[in-house]
């Protein structure tokens, strides 16, 4: 990890020149008075935050954590990190009401929910998705009744993987970090990733792994997030030490392993840094293969025009748009890239009853853009963004790797299977 340009978030507040570019770009401030904007809540409020002092914050919890402010700041101020830390202080000081904290912890424990719910998938899906239980969940817990909860999969991804025959003669080994959503909700994304990696001569290794902890980080539950990250590092570091890349399909999980967890939790030991330095977004990894001339391009054409929305957490890797570049290699496929700031969901943000309307308003420019482009489905790398996009547009959403797997000739699943029948 390069550290010479690394400064703790708080040190960067003096770099702020108050130009307000962040406020002009902030998708939440654009639609709600409850969040006055990154400049006010970040570097300006930071002047009033001191260790051991009561938190002066009221509005910081309305930051959705999209990190658009960081991306546009011309002065290198780490606004999003300041906000995340300030929220953690509010949580620590008991400034978040107990009921909401219980709700936040429930939403942020995607792994726990998956472990409990997935084995009972058909039943749990009925229980979670009927109007009465959603109404109850809103009244008692504050989980917005309209917000797009996912469906549990009938089979866990790793159950499928154990059954999946390993290819012979792999040229290199790759660790796959599948994340909770692939494991419990959308195993089709993991299957597509395994096909694509194996097609390119990789042996896929799936060591035991936890939730990356990002939902906890973005709800200010730092202690719990630390425990998750420590366990993940323990499971992954042996591979990192051998230089085996750790590749993920969830752009927020990989960002957490690379940067969010170490930075927000001040974890800088050698193991944490080794794991960070060896973690890759899947398309970042595929693009590196392509640059080496090692990516197979035996694609069959996909004659579609589809909207692609790069999630905020993907842009925050500061890699450009690797998935768009890889999809650009598929003949016939026309990708129309969204420049919308955010879909609104912000991980768990849009599930909260007090933030649901804001999240939908934030997503509106994206939903309008998707409607204007048309097309049978939408492409997006992040799971909660996909669910929000489907909720906001009525169109199914797929991960870019699903298109790639289809172009390589693997059987499509879900929404893509229906579309592939038209080929």
């Amino acid at each position: 990890m390069s550290t010479e340009h690394f400064y703790p978030a708080e040190w960067t507040l003096d770099c702020c020149i108050k130009c307000n570019i962040c406020t002009s770009a902030c998708p939440v401030a654009a639609v709600s008075d409850l969040f006055p904007g990154p400049k006010y809540v970040g570097p300006q409020a930071a002047r009033f935050r001191a260790p051991g002092q009561p938190s002066p914050d009221h509005s910081v919890d309305y930051c959705s954590g999209c990190r658009v402010c960081n991306m546009v700041c011309p002065s290198g101020v780490k606004i999003a990190e300041m906000n995340a830390r300030a929220r953690a202080v509010m949580v620590q000081q008991g400034r978040v009401p107990l009921r909401l904290r219980l709700r936040n912890n429930l939403l942020a424990r995607s792994e726990l929910l998956g472990r409990l719910g997935q084995p009972l998938a058909p039943l749990a899906n009925i229980a979670l998705h009927n109007p009465l239980s959603r109404w109850l969940a809103e009244r008692t817990l504050g989980i917005a009744r309209e917000a797009p909860l996912p469906h549990f999969a009938r089979e866990r991804f790793t159950t499928w993987f154990r059954r999946h025959p390993r290819p012979n003669g792999a040229a290199r080994r790759v660790v796959y970090f599948h994340g909770c959503s692939t494991e419990y909700y959308e195993p089709r994304v993991g299957r597509a990733a395994v096909y694509v990696l194996e097609h390119n001569g990789c042996e896929v290794i799936i060591p035991p792994q936890n939730c990356c902890g990002l939902p906890l980080l973005s709800n200010g539950e730092f202690a719990a997030a630390r425990a998750y990250h420590q366990r993940n590092v323990r499971h992954l570091v042996a591979y990192a030490r051998q230089g085996i890349p750790i590749v993920g399909t969830s752009t927020s999980c990989t960002l957490t392993l690379k940067e969010e967890a170490p930075e927000l939790l001040d974890m800088w030991d050698e193991d944490v840094q080794l794991v960070a330095a060896n973690t890759f977004d899947l398309h970042e990894f595929l693009l590196l293969l392509w640059e080496e001339g090692a990516l197979r391009t035996d694609f069959r054409p996909l004659p579609w025009r589809l909207t692609y929305h790069p999630p905020c957490q993907y842009r925050a890797h500061r890699l450009g748009r690797p998935a768009a570049e890889i999809m650009g290699l598929i003949p016939g496929l026309e990708i129309v890239e969204s420049h919308a700031a955010c879909c609104g969901i912000g991980g768990t943000y849009g599930y909260k009853v007090e933030k649901y309307a804001i999240a939908m308003e934030v997503g509106r420019p994206l939903f309008d853009f998707i409607a204007q482009v048309g097309g049978p489905l939408v492409v997006c790398d992040s799971e909660t963004c996909r669910w929000q996009i489907t909720h906001g547009t009525g169109k199914p959403a797929v991960h870019p790797v699903e298109l790639l797997a289809l172009a390589y000739g693997y059987p499509p699943e879900g929404a893509l299977a229906a579309l592939a029948e038209t080929l």
Partner: protein, 425 residues
């Protein structure tokens, strides 16, 4: 590796960088623009100043830039305009005007005459190209104007502007309106006002509130927040409803007219197949002999590599943080550590007066280049043959004082792109 080699990497996404990226992409180059964040476009007035004062410390605005430019080029052969030539400047302005017109946002004006437009403080500002939304404010005409502000919007005080204009003999009055009820937000900034102005119902309510105050006003000035995507439509609708010309006055950053130009330029780059990435700060470069091979940008967990045949350095000067004052008395170009020219003695960096008409000597410091915009060392030798420098990073020009900032940016960005060739051409 060959597949990953770009034709051009542009460092910086101000007007110079975006112009270079657009022109290179139009010439068939594979272009990537990388920038630390958004910057100059969001800070400037959304007009193109080419030459406002000449000599720079003159107190009389330049009336006809073309004549003054000819004098400047003869008198200061190291000035960026002199290096690239006024023909390149004229070509750059022409290309830019065509682009903006095609985007439905015409920039009016020419090198034959400067506009004189009112500032938010009621000053008089010479500028060469101005968007259609601003030109009815021209102070070469004397029709009385009414300046409109909004009570919850703190970045424009119409009374201040009107009083200063009156003191200089320009007939002006002011009025401050409350926002229509449902739009009364606690926090009103330029971008959310611009969104509101795109709505016909909001405009109708503003006009209703404004009509009783019109009096003898022959034109009406608003802060520059009249819509983000459809500024011309917003302006025309207001003009129809008010029955007189309407104009915008640029206000404090973030600048809505600047954002419109940012949107037009980045859109043009992408349509031409290029890419623009913000949040990518260049932190290192690989150089060999006299060639820049690649640059590295800061990214999560490790750096990202960008290999290209040509590089355009458009990081801005001291204001854009392309040049930093490291300790108390040394200046440093931040990426290639290029030598800086025209650096005065430390004691002479600043004039004694903050708002000095002579300017501050330190702002003339920058990178010395040849006619191909390649950086030079003290012995006038080219340092890197495939590196071209554009914008306010260049030495021998006080763009703030002579009011040439956007003209220098656009024309040197244009000229830098002319130095870049696509691999297959």
């Amino acid at each position: 590796m060959e597949a990953a080699t770009l034709d051009v990497v542009v460092i910086g996404a101000g007007l110079a960088g975006l112009m270079a990226g657009w022109q290179a992409a139009v010439r068939g180059c594979r272009v990537r623009v990388v920038a630390k964040g958004w910057g100059a476009t969001h800070w400037h007035a959304g007009c193109i100043d080419v030459l406002g004062y000449y000599p720079a410390d003159s107190q009389t605005p330049v009336a006809a830039p073309r004549e003054a430019l000819a004098q400047l080029v003869r008198a200061t052969p190291r000035h960026p305009y002199a290096l690239i030539g006024t023909a390149a400047l004229a070509q750059a302005l022409d290309a830019f005007q065509q682009l903006c017109a095609a985007a439905g946002y015409p920039m009016h004006g020419s090198l034959e005459r400067n506009w004189l437009l009112p500032t938010a403080l009621g000053g008089v500002r010479p500028t060469c190209l101005a968007p259609e939304t601003m030109i009815a404010g021209d102070l070469r005409r004397r029709e009385p104007m009414l300046l409109v502000g909004f009570r919850p919007y703190l970045d424009f005080y119409p009374a201040l502007a009107a009083d200063n204009l009156k003191a200089q003999g320009f007939p002006a009055r002011d009025v401050t309106l409350d926002l229509p009820r449902p739009e009364q937000r606690r926090l009103v900034n330029a971008t959310n006002l611009a969104q509101l102005f795109e709505r016909a119902d909001f405009r109708a309510e503003v006009v209703d509130a404004l009509k009783p105050h019109l009096g003898d006003a022959a034109r009406v000035g608003f802060p520059a927040v009249l819509g983000m995507h459809n500024a011309l439509g917003v302006q025309r609708d207001l003009q129809e409803r008010l029955g007189r010309p309407v104009f915008e006055i640029p206000v404090l950053p973030p600048s809505v007219p600047g954002m419109r130009l940012h949107r037009i330029l980045t859109g043009a780059i992408e349509r031409a197949g290029g890419r623009v990435f913000e949040g990518m700060e260049v932190v290192a470069a690989d150089v060999r002999d006299k060639v820049v091979e690649a640059v590295w940008t800061e990214a999560a967990a490790r750096r990202k590599y960008h290999r290209a045949r040509h590089f355009v350095l458009a990081t801005g000067g001291i204001l854009g943080s392309g040049i930093l004052a490291e300790d108390t008395d040394t200046l440093r170009e931040v990426i290639f550590n290029l030598p800086l020219a025209a650096v005065p003695q430390r004691s002479d960096w600043f004039d004694a007066e903050f708002l000095s008409l002579r300017g501050h000597p330190i702002y003339r410091a920058g990178i010395a280049v040849n006619e191909r915009l390649q950086p030079l060392d003290a012995a006038q030798e080219v340092l890197y043959t495939n590196l071209h420098v554009a914008g306010t990073t260049l030495a021998h020009c006080d763009a703030l004082l002579e009011r040439s900032l956007e003209g220098v940016a656009l024309s040197t960005g244009f000229a830098a792109a002319q130095q870049c060739e696509a691999k297959n051409t």
